[in-house]
Symmetry: C2
Subunit: 361 residues, 2 copies
């Protein structure tokens, strides 16, 4: 087997090697069932245990009280863009959105498409989304306030979450869930495509405050109602079993090997500091976002020319450092430092960057 | 590693062992990328190749012409129950349904819930769905005729598909897709949850005749529109990459090891004949469906008492034969003989059944 690379992909992204090893180890015979995890019934005891472990680990890691459901819904964050307004928009009340990039923009578009009364109360579009808005006024009667905690493409992140008083927060945490601890109480709903910090592609994790379920209207299809998923513990129909299984293993690694979200945050800060610090000192690489809005997860940067950027990405891959190309919509370079990327991986990247600068700078 | 069982699960179900071996073999390093298939970008060349292979193999195996799209949509067949009427119901025209069991019933419920004009033109509910209706009249102006080709729970299957003249057929083939060849031309849409005959849980395969896309109305959300999936080759957002990858390997096995759908059908008929033949001769076990409606995929049968059924299922599992319990809604026993189950697996089951009868009969 050829060597594995260090994988800075933005998502689907690197997973902890011990998790991959464990999957591989039990792939033909899942915990004594005589079947692969791919072959067991979603209604069997071994699978329900796995599902419940994923839920319970999520509860513990995020300090969720009994007032929250944790469910798994297929279709990625993109399906949530329409499900949330379908389920939670209150008749006659606006929905407040803060627009911080590509994914917020898509979420806004879907709510408008449904004919909802969308208020974009703040946006950083004026500077190509290079910062997180500091001032905004939340409508008192808003159904909820939607924001994106980390902007994978633009490389920004909310250091502290917006304050919305009694208005429930609704947050797309696809690219930074489980990267740091936070207070879940103000949140009416949190959603995250699994394929960045917690697993492979194929399911969103959706955390729903129970009181929000009272809003779910009758008229929408069963598979688009949060009440369906909450009432049936994600087992109304066959869920994305393999994704849920992998999530349960990633969360076990997070609890037992890393030691929880405080520890994970410390490591994530160290990783980001190493890389941003090097970029700022280099006089060759430059960050693309305002410093107080920088993402700890997705470090976006430019080189002096696009030619150098292409060369950088190509040579990095040859050196075993993959996934460093920026998103096709913005160009440049990006290193995604999700939980599975270690401090030493970032040091290897910085070493390569320094060498490249010496040669080309 | 303990011994693998023979897995007669109704879905998620047995997969071909060579496919599982291949996944395991390249699990840490997908085709020289230095990453797991779980970690590679859905927009990378290696993944797009895999996706396109799954699509092309489907085209070849099912003899689909250029007039069909093949896409992958998360949410299982259950999400299709609402997506199909949302996309394809013509204003002012009824939708015809034939009701042959649990899944048809659910599909009907979702269409009604959307306020569509649903005509159930035939049903076998009068005999607890133990047969496939022989006579029915398709509305000339129907938007489409929906039916379920194989009824996993009730153990019936359409030996020949219904004739609907110019009205497009729409078919839930979740539990018998790729089990036999058929003429795709009358079909406006075919859908199948992957987790029975073609892969693990977490995606439906949806085959769409291109002319049907003209019906898709503007007002529905992006992630619920077939045009979104067709226009973007299933890559509008991150798809269920691992499921698609596994499907591509299962279809490769079907083409290269089995030799295509004619050969697969011959094997499937042989398997079903062995088991039904034994049941009919036994004077102990008895089939639950009318003989001309029997499913080649899901063989449902009863024993003289429920106590014996429970004992049968328990002892079979001890003997390495799993998944033989009937669906919780109907009881009894069921052996699912999907493509990955071999002739010898069925012979082992019959041998066990004969021994059990000798002891208990």
């Amino acid at each position: 087997m050829a060597k594995r690379i260090i994988n800075f992909n933005p998502g689907p992204a690197a997973l902890p090697l011990p998790v991959l090893d464990e999957i591989r180890e039990e792939f033909l015979n899942y915990r004594g069932t005589g079947m692969s995890i791919l072959e067991i019934s979603h209604r069997s005891k071994p699978f329900e245990e796995t599902l419940n472990q994923a839920v319970e680990r999520t509860r513990r890691l995020l300090n969720l009280g009994d007032e929250f459901h944790v469910v798994f819904v297929q279709g990625g964050a993109s399906l949530q863009f329409c499900m949330i307004p379908m389920n939670f928009a209150l008749e006659g009340n606006p929905i407040d959105y803060i627009n911080t990039g590509t994914w917020s923009t898509k979420a806004i578009k879907e709510a408008k498409h449904l004919g909802k009364d969308v208020h974009v109360i703040a946006s950083s579009e004026d500077k190509n989304f290079a910062y997180i808005p500091k001032t905004f006024h939340v409508d008192e009667d808003a159904s909820y306030l939607h924001f994106t905690s980390n902007n994978t493409i633009k490389g920004t992140q909310w250091a502290e979450f917006p304050k919305s008083g009694p208005v429930p927060l609704v947050c797309d945490m696809s690219s930074d869930i489980m990267s740091r601890p936070f207070d879940p109480k103000p949140f009416g709903l949190i959603y995250a495509g699994a394929q960045k910090n917690i697993g492979p592609a194929g399911s969103a994790m959706v955390i729903i405050r129970k009181d929000m379920l009272q809003r779910v209207p009758e008229g929408i299809p069963s598979m688009l109602k949060y009440t369906t998923f909450a009432a049936e513990n994600s087992l109304y129909n066959t869920p994305a079993c393999f994704v849920i299984y992998t999530v349960s293993l990633v969360l076990k690694w997070l609890e037992e090997t890393i030691g929880g979200l405080e520890k994970m945050e410390t490591i994530n800060k160290e990783k980001a500091n190493i890389l941003y610090g090097f970029i700022d000192r280099s006089g060759f690489y430059r960050g693309t976002t305002e410093k107080d809005s920088r993402s700890l997860m997705n470090v976006t940067f430019r080189l002096p020319t696009e030619e150098l950027e292409a060369k950088f990405v190509g040579e990095a891959l040859k050196a075993g450092l993959g996934g460093l190309k920026g998103h096709r919509s913005v160009g440049g370079c990006r290193a995604s430092l999700y939980n599975a990327i270690g401090v030493n991986d970032v040091k290897s990247l910085v070493e390569f960057m320094a060498d490249f600068q010496k040669k080309e700078g």
